[in-house]
């Protein structure tokens, strides 16, 4: 295809630029249907203790088509660098590869990342061979530090996780995009299709979201809306939008006007 526009992450290419989480769904069937409707090729998962007294018959991974979907383990819930490193090592041993969403939470109420701890953990994990995708604030300096540490992408938040507020600071995202040599993925805080379209119009390489789909009244419809939003925003970015001007420019020619 002449018009192939692929996302490249950790040496692998993807057609979809929408990465989705697998949390908060009613059941595994809905999770799978939402991934399909979103057209996602990368999905995030969390690492948690097996319930020893009731291990259960089914596991999330049994319900996903792993020949088509890349699993992106997340260090969600970790609040120190050492916890995140420990979780990452366990995730890798569970056998889904080296791709890792690095998340070190600094505060329970905002779920903002602990940037210093994230940079510390990233440096260790990159050396251990992980393809590290860090969740960070929309801070261009933090993005630069993580890129310098060898991260395969940077993932600034749009707004607090699960808030649905959309991109609060598009100007910071733009600065991050201008400075970045690695893919920029907006992660967390988007609420609806126009939010993801805006992220892609700014030039972001992908969007990662969970609650905006799982928490919608009709998750599958929203998953489709998000897919279309990402596609529309990406195409608009590549098409090159017209500049904003204060005054009108007529669409019809002046020549030949009745006198």
């Amino acid at each position: 295809m002449a018009d192939e526009d692929l996302l490249c992450l950790g040496g692998k290419t993807y057609h979809s630029r929408l990465i989705v989480g697998t949390g908060k769904y009613r059941d595994f069937a809905e999770t799978r249907a939402a991934i399909d409707a979103a057209g996602a090729e990368i999905v995030t998962v969390a690492v948690r203790r097996v319930n020893i007294t009731d291990p259960g018959k089914e596991n999330l991974l049994d319900h996903l088509d792993l020949s088509r979907i890349t699993i992106l383990p997340n260090t969600a819930g970790c609040s120190t660098a050492s916890e995140a490193i420990r979780t990452a090592r366990l995730a890798r041993e569970a056998g889904v590869g080296t791709l890792l969403k690095l998340e070190v939470i600094g505060d329970d109420q905002t779920l903002f990342p602990d940037v210093a701890a994230t940079i510390e953990a990233a440096a260790v994990l990159v050396k251990e061979g992980f393809t590290v995708l860090p969740y960070i604030t929309d801070d261009p300096i933090a993005a630069r530090r993580l890129q310098d540490a060898g991260c395969a992408a940077v993932m600034p938040l749009a707004a607090p996780i699960g808030s649905g507020l959309g991109i609060r600071n598009p100007y910071n995202i733009k600065i991050i995009l201008e400075q970045s040599r690695v893919p920029v993925i907006v992660d967390a805080g988007v609420g609806t299709a126009s939010d993801v379209a805006l992220a892609m119009e700014l030039g972001c390489d992908a969007v990662l979201l969970n609650t905006a789909i799982a928490g919608a009244t009709h998750p599958l419809l929203m998953a489709e809306a998000m897919r279309l939003g990402v596609e529309a925003g990406r195409k608009a970015f590549r098409a090159g939008r017209i500049p904003r001007k204060l005054y009108a420019t007529a669409s019809s020619p002046i020549e030949g006007l009745l006198q």
Partner: protein, 66 residues
């Protein structure tokens, strides 16, 4: 012998290997990872690693998450 398994004390028979424990728990076919005393245990070592009194064992899996 007593080990701590996923945060709970558990009495297990002497010399039980990690492979046997995983089998007893019905997790053999599952994508899991095992950590003993804060060190990840490679899958190939499950049959060789016998648990010892006082070991702190964590068994994790992937669940839905953002």
């Amino acid at each position: 012998m007593r080990v701590t398994l996923n945060g709970e004390p558990r009495d297990l028979r002497e010399g039980l290997t990690v492979a046997e424990l995983v089998g007893d728990l019905g997790l053999r076919a599952r994508r899991i990872a095992v950590e003993i005393n804060l060190d990840v245990l490679p899958r190939d070592d499950y049959p060789r690693r016998a648990l010892c009194d006082g070991d702190v064992v964590e068994i994790v899996q992937f669940i839905g998450g953002g």
